[in-house]
């Protein structure tokens, strides 16, 4: 069931983050990127929306410790199942990363290795967490390509990233991330590089996989309209803070002027306006 705070009998949520701070330290100068973000995640689709620079991707990367060394991560709690992500050793993190938590990156063009066949890249994801023969990994990769609805997986397996389209590339990324059967998937703008029609297919696929496998999904996006229809719950971030957290179905009743502004700024097919309202930012949003 999708519930942000599971019943008492159900033990703890999948992921529990409290008061997460990320600072980028450069000599004596420290730049805050994330300032006190708290959320819990069950087996649901949680969206993090906000403009570029609001810290949404940094939250995702902090969970996997994918940030550069100059980033200082602090939190009062960062618990994933039985693992304390905050104090996990690098070896422990390597075990978790890709296997139990995986991340789908924004642009398949830049996140796939250009000189390795896509099938081999998917198989590699499996082999780095499971012992076994190459042939077995290949079979799994082919099966996974079928799951992500790629026609003719045998042929696509042999292709290089530049030979496949953007939609196919994103499916390959999804296949690579799901082959290890993770419990939590972080999707960082998985559809912003895609067309409208392909976007729908990729979303439908993610939706099916989340339902079928009971995953937790963190969906990072700047498209509030997309998120409203796709996710269960939405965190709205501004300048490193969560300014509002609400159910996706209640976005129409958003209280915070930033959320309202984001929604009003979207051009609407049915209500033509001569000018789009531009977001007016208030200094008070930084601290409130």
């Amino acid at each position: 069931m999708t519930c942000s705070i599971p019943a008492v009998s159900n033990a703890s949520p999948l992921l529990d983050v409290r008061d997460l701070h990320v600072n980028f330290v450069n000599g004596r100068q420290s730049t805050p990127a994330v300032r006190g973000v708290s959320f819990q995640l069950g087996q649901e689709k949680l969206a993090i929306v906000g403009e570029s620079g609001s810290g949404k991707s940094t939250v995702g990367r902090a969970l996997l410790q994918l940030l550069p060394a100059k980033a200082r991560i602090e939190a009062s709690r960062m618990q994933f199942g039985d693992v304390d992500l905050l104090h996990a050793t690098p070896a422990r993190m390597r075990d978790i990363r890709g296997k139990r938590i995986s991340m789908i990156m924004q642009d398949p063009k830049y996140s796939l290795n250009p000189v390795v066949r896509v099938g081999e890249q998917i198989a590699e994801a499996w082999r780095s967490h499971h012992r076994g023969q190459q042939a077995a990994a290949r079979q799994r990769a082919l099966a996974m390509l079928e799951v992500v609805q790629i026609r003719d997986p045998e042929r696509v397996y042999q292709l290089y990233p530049h030979e496949i389209s953007g939609g196919q590339g994103q499916r390959v990324m999804i296949a690579m991330m799901l082959i290890t059967e993770p419990e939590l998937v972080i999707a960082d703008e998985p559809t912003s590089a895609l067309d409208v029609s392909v976007r729908l297919q990729v979303l439908a696929l993610l939706d099916d996989l989340v339902k079928a496998r009971g995953l937790g999904l963190i969906f990072i996006s700047h498209d509030i309209n997309l998120v409203r229809r796709f996710c269960d719950r939405v965190l709205v971030m501004y300048a490193g803070r969560v300014v509002e957290s609400l159910a996706a179905s209640e976005l129409d009743r958003a209280q915070h002027p930033y959320t309202q502004g984001l929604m009003a700024a979207l051009p609407d097919l049915d209500h033509r306006r001569s000018r789009l309202p531009v977001l007016q930012r208030h200094a008070s949003w930084l601290t409130e």
Partner: protein, 252 residues
């Protein structure tokens, strides 16, 4: 203002030949904002590149302002047609200052009073003269796209070709750029030919729109017809439906 007649384009030779545009016909009148929509690979950007002179081996006839376009790019053409590219992160020279970037077209064309023109243009797109000495990496995505628009407009062209000018930007910044484009168009009565795959943007900005699929123009229609779902082609109606109800369920 813009006439495209039976535009054909192919790449490769003999057996490797692949045709990407098939008899494309478009008519855009003076002061109109015309949208080109379709999925990736449908040839929208290619049409723009033919008009801008970035592809020169096309067949057919292209006219701007009643004058046929040659198969080469020259100074006179640059003053009539300019293009704004999709990705503001890739279309500005990383080691030229904003001032240099804006001044270069003026230098090439031998136009005087460059400094004043650059400052006036920066102000027109909502930046001030202090930005002149900065480099592109010091600017945000929205500011870079403003510079790209300024660079296109500094030669005072009558026609602006826009290749997904907002797809690399955030929703809130997109609103600013769309407002800017609409203001500039009204001030100078410019003609826009805009490529996009976002029908929300089309409905907001454009007057008429052509739908492309696999290198062909499926249909040309005005925006009220498009949004009221009276398009004749099922593909067009599918596109409209897809942008209206972006629920994963409808994709099945």
């Amino acid at each position: 203002m813009i006439t495209v007649n039976n535009l054909n384009l192919s790449f490769g030779e003999e057996s490797a030949r692949s045709q990407v545009l098939f008899d494309v016909n478009l008519q855009v009148s003076q002061g109109e904002i015309f949208g080109l929509v379709g999925e990736s690979g449908s040839g929208k950007t290619t049409v723009l590149k033919c008009l801008a002179g970035l592809f020169n081996h096309w067949q057919g006839a292209l006219e701007i302002d009643g004058q046929p376009l040659a198969h080469c790019i020259d100074r006179a053409r640059c003053r009539r047609v300019q293009m704004v590219f999709q990705d503001p992160y890739g279309s500005l020279h990383p080691r030229h200052t904003i001032g240099d970037i804006l001044e270069e077209p003026l230098q090439i064309q031998g136009i005087g009073q460059r400094q004043q023109r650059v400052i006036a243009m920066l102000e027109k797109v909502g930046l001030n003269r202090a930005w002149q000495t900065r480099y592109p990496h010091q600017l945000s995505g929205g500011q870079r796209q403003r510079v790209a628009i300024a660079r296109a407009l500094i030669l005072e062209p009558a026609v602006l070709l826009l290749d997904e000018p907002t797809s690399a930007l955030d929703v809130s910044v997109q609103a600013e750029i769309l407002n800017l484009l609409s203001d500039l168009q009204q001030q100078d009565n410019l003609t826009y030919l805009m490529v996009t795959h976002d029908l929300g943007v089309v409905a907001h900005l454009c007057h008429r729109v052509a739908v492309m699929q696999q290198g062909k123009v499926l249909e040309t229609l005005d925006v009220p017809t498009l949004v009221s779902n009276r398009a004749s082609m099922p593909y067009t109606r599918m596109l409209v439906e897809a942008s209206r109800h972006a629920t994963p369920v409808t994709a099945h």
